[in-house]
């Protein structure tokens, strides 16, 4: 904006007197400022209306919480915490106040936690297997035709707009309760998102290496295997691990709609208002995800380091 009022760029204005230049500049500048302020005012108005409407619709303004809301939250939080007695902390699960009394169904929870991890792993592996060939079709530099590239991309976008939980909800209706709908829902989501990520890694690959394999007589498959794969594999592995982290969280939540894993226990604890149980299971989930994140982050750092070193 300031460029258009710069008088020195206009040769026909070079004969102007200094006052004229200053006057012109000032006028232009105040006009710009006014316009900017009006625009700002309009934007603020729109955002305020949007926020006001949103708050109103979601019940943030209304006295929805009723009297003593803080007290109720406090009460709820205290029910979330277990009743532990410091002198009985390490007694067996029959003694009220011990840690094992709090984690009373530890064996089952560990089993369900293992199931959650297995759902996540199986879904990630299957998703990566499906995504790999699709990613060749969805990469602009490898796709056999533009329409193939376009179709695969659009379909993967479409699937990605549907949250795993909604997919799982529909799949539970078809497959019944249990881990299978969870695995399929996560596999679908993983396939769609990994197709995109893998395709982007493929597009960033150096095509000269594929051409080198081709000129040495390699066919299409050999070009991918020896020209492309060594370049992109560390990236693909790193993306898959990242997706595994996401899937563990997803698998933990899927149980809430009946798709297997630890979420089933969460949902049961809430239904029976066992809030301390809920908290115990929550601690286990959070711990699992935390440990997994750290491990996977360390591996991913090594993988991308390998790629840079190569």
């Amino acid at each position: 904006m300031s460029k258009s009022v710069d008088p020195t760029t206009n040769s026909d204005r070079s004969s102007w007197r200094l006052e004229q230049i200053v006057d012109h500049f000032e006028a232009e500048r105040s006009r710009n400022l006014r316009r900017g302020r009006l625009q700002q005012l309009f934007q603020i108005l729109v955002v305020t209306l949007l926020l006001g409407g949103a708050f109103q619709a979601s019940g943030l303004f209304s006295s929805y919480l009723g009297d003593g809301a803080l007290g109720r939250i406090g009460n709820f939080l205290s029910r979330l915490l277990p009743q532990l007695h410091h002198d009985r902390l390490f007694e067996d699960r029959a003694t009220s106040g011990s840690l094992l009394y709090w984690f009373y169904d530890l064996d089952l929870w560990l089993k369900l936690l293992a199931e959650t991890v297995q759902i996540a792993i199986v879904a990630t592996v299957l998703g990566a297997i499906f995504a790999l060939p699709l990613s060749f079709l969805a990469a602009r530099n490898l796709a056999p035709a533009v329409w193939v590239y376009w179709t695969v991309r659009r379909i993967s976008e479409l699937v990605r707009t549907l949250p795993d939980i909604i997919l799982a909800l529909i799949l539970v209706a078809a497959f019944g309760l249990g881990p299978i709908p969870g695995v399929i829902a996560l596999t679908l989501g993983t396939t769609a998102s990994l197709t995109k990520l893998f395709a982007e890694a493929n597009e960033a690959a150096d095509m000269h290496q594929l051409e080198a394999v081709q000129s040495a007589g390699g066919n299409w498959w050999q070009q991918l295997r020896f020209g492309l794969m060594p370049q992109v594999l560390p990236n693909l592995a790193s993306y898959s691990l990242l997706r595994l982290e996401i899937n563990v969280g997803g698998a933990a939540a899927l149980g809430i709609v009946g798709a297997g894993g630890i979420g089933v226990e969460l949902s049961r604890a809430i239904t029976f208002t066992e809030f301390d149980t809920y908290f115990a299971v929550l601690i286990m989930i959070v711990g699992l995800i935390f440990v997994l994140d750290l491990t996977s982050e360390a591996i991913r750092d090594r993988l991308t380091g390998l790629e840079k070193g190569a």
Partner: protein, 275 residues
């Protein structure tokens, strides 16, 4: 053929290990593949992922999919659009609440602002732990605390967002250039002025872009919160699935996908103008 074998002979002389990898490598790789395959098969077995179960399920899924066509709202168009708007309202409110909580935490979590490593570490690690909680898990707790309704969903969204946002805000502040602030301090400005004029112009566009991105993901999250009773489109969807009205399910899914696409497009337009 002879030329080929000649080539291989020469290659073997130059780099024997790349032509014929040492047997220990080949054996190790083979073991890894077989071990991985056995492990994967064992997991599939544990999850009861059998072909006949899958075949039965997919047959039923085919029947359900057939029932989805043609999508039919059964006169509930207005209600569905209304609930989509409610879901959007939940997403906006949740994002705003999340931003309000994340702003101070982001500033505290930035290495360049709070130089005390203990505070920095404590804030970052706490956020890391909280980030592990899926939004649906928060929602279950909040619904039992606040009762059924969108307010529980809003708070769950905010709780799930603020750890992510805080981390991103902290990184935006850390990645900003400190020289403008130093310049303002050097020319006589105080710390507040240095922040307002040196730091904010750099980080606000980044933060706004991340907040918009959060809004996009919150619209998706808000949709699933309805499933556990926070109202909105998820509730409508769950209800229709429960009564096996799959033509209405299809209508809702199509409307939902269209609105997600619209929101993503709008948000990407605004983000492109911001950065």
């Amino acid at each position: 053929m002879t030329a080929g074998s000649d080539l291989i002979e020469r290659a073997t002389l130059i780099a024997p290990n790349s032509v014929y990898p040492p047997w220990i490598n080949r054996f190790g790789r083979w073991i890894c593949w077989v071990g991985g395959l056995i492990l994967f098969g064992w997991m599939c077995h544990n999850l009861d992922l059998r072909l006949d179960v899958l075949a039965r399920g997919f047959t039923k899924l085919g029947v359900l999919t057939k029932a989805m066509f043609p999508p039919f709202a059964n006169g509930g168009e207005l209600r569905i659009v209304q609930s989509l708007l409610d879901t959007f309202a939940m997403a906006v409110s949740g994002t705003v609440l999340g931003i309000i909580v994340a702003l101070p935490l982001g500033i505290i979590g930035a290495k360049t602002v709070i130089r005390n490593p203990v505070i920095h570490f404590a804030v970052r690690r706490t956020l890391d732990i909280l980030r592990g909680v899926p939004v649906l898990v928060w929602a279950l707790v909040m619904i039992s605390a606040f009762g059924l309704g969108p307010i529980a969903g809003v708070i769950a969204l905010a709780l799930a967002d603020f750890p992510h946002l805080s981390k991103q805000f902290a990184e935006a502040i850390e990645n900003s250039d400190t020289r403008p602030s130093q310049g303002i301090l050097a020319s006589g400005g105080n710390r507040i002025e240095a922040m307002r004029l040196g730091l904010l112009p750099q980080v606000v566009p980044v933060m706004a872009s991340q907040s918009l991105y959060t809004l996009e993901s919150n619209f998706r999250n808000a949709a699933i919160l309805g499933v556990v009773g926070a109202g909105g489109i998820g509730f409508e969807l769950e209800e229709r699935i429960r009564i096996f009205a799959f033509d209405q399910v299809a209508w809702i899914v199509v409307a939902y996908v269209l609105s997600v696409t619209l929101l993503d497009w709008l948000s990407s337009q605004v983000r492109a103008r911001l950065v």
